[in-house]
């Protein structure tokens, strides 16, 4: 009932009850749970007859690499792919949600999905959340209006441009793109340019790393190359392999569970912690 009173008293369109609650919780000492961000480099490049998108494969949680080879290119429709930077969970769930939504629409209308539909749906969802859904996407595809490439920011802003980059490595990649992009590239030239831009992000931005994934979309279909380039293999192979012989770890207590009798019993002798 108190919650209802709270709710009825809120003026304006947005309900900020949880913000106050979070601040109070923080003041009481509840620690904020850090979320996995992808700290990324993603790029998109339009070429003559289609669009190419590329991404690195490192996912970070703070300054630790959480995943050395994650997938940042998500399919939204057979002719539309998204490259995502930002919070990993948000990206995964939002892309899966829009993939399903677009599929339903295609089944209902019996028409190919268009990039501008995706942009509209995304931005109308993201704006009310004031940027708290942390997805920064590059959407690329080919539809009845030709090859399309747009980027969407977490607050719901979108931009159409022949080349885009997002993520923490976007500035490194943008330098390459600004210098080398031209109109009328061929598919192979666009792929090479995209890989070079991601490489710049991988080596000069510490939030990006490992390998490069590329997807090229044309009227003929989708060409998805997972790990088209692999950099930075582990630098040192240990000469003398680690040796962990069996039964060398002290177990303080050992129990045995007998399934037939459904009994738990202690076996062996209790050991002491060995420094």
């Amino acid at each position: 009932m108190q919650y209802l009173d709270n709710y009825l008293q809120s003026k304006g369109g947005y309900d900020y009850t949880n913000v106050k609650r979070n601040e109070l919780m923080k003041a009481q000492g509840f620690k904020e749970i850090p979320f996995t961000k992808t700290g990324t480099t993603i790029v998109g490049v339009i070429f003559d007859g289609g669009v190419v998108m590329a991404a690195d494969t490192r996912a970070t949680a703070g300054s630790i690499v959480a995943d050395k080879n994650c997938e940042k290119l998500h399919p939204l429709a057979p002719n539309i792919w998204a490259a995502g930077a930002g919070t990993a969970a948000d990206l995964h769930h939002q892309c899966a949600h829009f993939n399903a939504k677009l599929k339903l629409q295609r089944l209902n209308l019996n028409r190919q999905s268009r990039v501008n539909e995706v942009i509209t749906k995304l931005t109308t969802k993201l704006f009310p959340y004031r940027g708290h859904i942390g997805v920064a996407l590059i959407i690329g595809g080919i539809d009845s209006n030709g090859p399309q490439l747009a980027s969407v920011s977490p607050h719901g802003n979108y931009v159409y441009h022949p080349f885009q980059s997002m993520g923490s490595g976007s500035l490194a990649a943008l330098g390459i793109l600004e210098a080398k992009f031209q109109d009328g590239l061929t598919k192979q030239q666009a792929i090479d340019l995209a890989i070079e831009a991601i490489e710049a992000g991988i080596f000069h931005d510490m939030g990006s790393g490992s390998n490069v994934d590329v997807v090229a979309i044309t009227k003929e279909g989708v060409d998805y190359r997972r790990n088209i380039r692999q950099f930075n293999a582990k630098s040192h192979q240990k000469q003398i392999p680690y040796h962990f012989p069996a039964n060398n770890t002290p177990a303080l207590r050992k129990y045995e569970f007998n399934f037939e009798k459904q009994e738990l019993s202690e076996i062996g002798q209790e050991m002491e912690i060995i420094e």
Partner: protein
């Protein structure tokens, strides 16, 4: 989880008209920067091995791929520092000058124990505006056995057989505990030779570079013995 709803309602009623203007405390300027990286040192009878990666970073940017974190202070001891690079430079300058003065006045170089104490006092002299440095002082003692002293930012120090500091500390120290001290092993097989220990150190850095974004580029290793100092540089991941 206890959430005092009545208190919250009180707050909410007071602030309701101003709910839209939520201001955040502005970011204050800080005199400290973490230039990160990892250093480690291991002491064995007859030698001490000190290693540090050579990446200098600031946030997500790489400032240098070739910046040393190791500094040889006397023939027998090396300072390895992780943390703020500017404070490392300042601390190194002070120690070099003070030890040169010591050598002029006493006609002999300071022993590792003396340098360790000097470093502790210098760090504590800045108790209320600390050097943002996490140090390891590695050297040969009077019997030419390798010894490592580990420090916190304000000069508390302790003699150890091995130590790790920096952004990759948590990733590496557990491996060294298991391999160099035999933690959690019944039959402890501790590596004795220099080659085995170098192998472990290189592997530790290689693994730290895999999972810590601030560690990488190259690893610089100094091996101090009574005969002199040897320097090895090996490449690490550059991404």
């Amino acid at each position: 989880m206890y959430i005092p709803v009545n208190d919250m309602l009180k707050h909410f009623k007071q602030d309701a008209p101003a709910m839209a203007n939520i201001t955040h405390k502005s970011d204050q300027w800080s005199p400290y920067h973490d230039n990160s990286g990892t250093v480690l040192a291991v002491g064995i009878p007859g030698a001490v091995i000190v290693a540090g990666d050579t990446r200098l970073s600031n946030g997500y940017n790489i400032l240098s791929r070739d910046a040393t974190k190791l500094s040889q202070l006397t023939d027998k001891c090396v300072l390895a520092t992780a943390g703020q690079y500017a404070d490392f430079i300042a601390l190194r300058k002070f120690l070099q000058q003070r030890l040169q003065l010591y050598e002029f006045q006493n006609e002999v170089q300071a022993s590792t124990e003396t340098v360790a104490h000097l470093l502790s006092r210098e760090l504590y002299s800045r108790r209320f505006f600390p050097y943002y440095t996490f140090n390891l002082l590695a050297g040969l003692d009077e019997n030419n056995h390798g010894v490592v002293y580990g420090y916190d930012a304000i000069g508390s120090y302790d003699k150890m057989t091995y130590g790790v500091q920096g952004s990759g500390q948590e990733l590496v120290v557990a491996v060294l505990d298991n391999q160099l001290k035999g933690y959690n092993k019944i039959n402890k097989t501790i590596p004795q030779t220099r080659e085995e220990i170098l192998d472990i150190i290189l592997d530790c850095f290689s693994c730290a570079a895999e999972r810590d974004i601030h560690t990488g580029d190259n690893v610089e290793i100094l091996i101090i013995t009574a005969a002199g100092t040897e320097r090895i540089v090996k490449p690490l991941r550059k991404d």
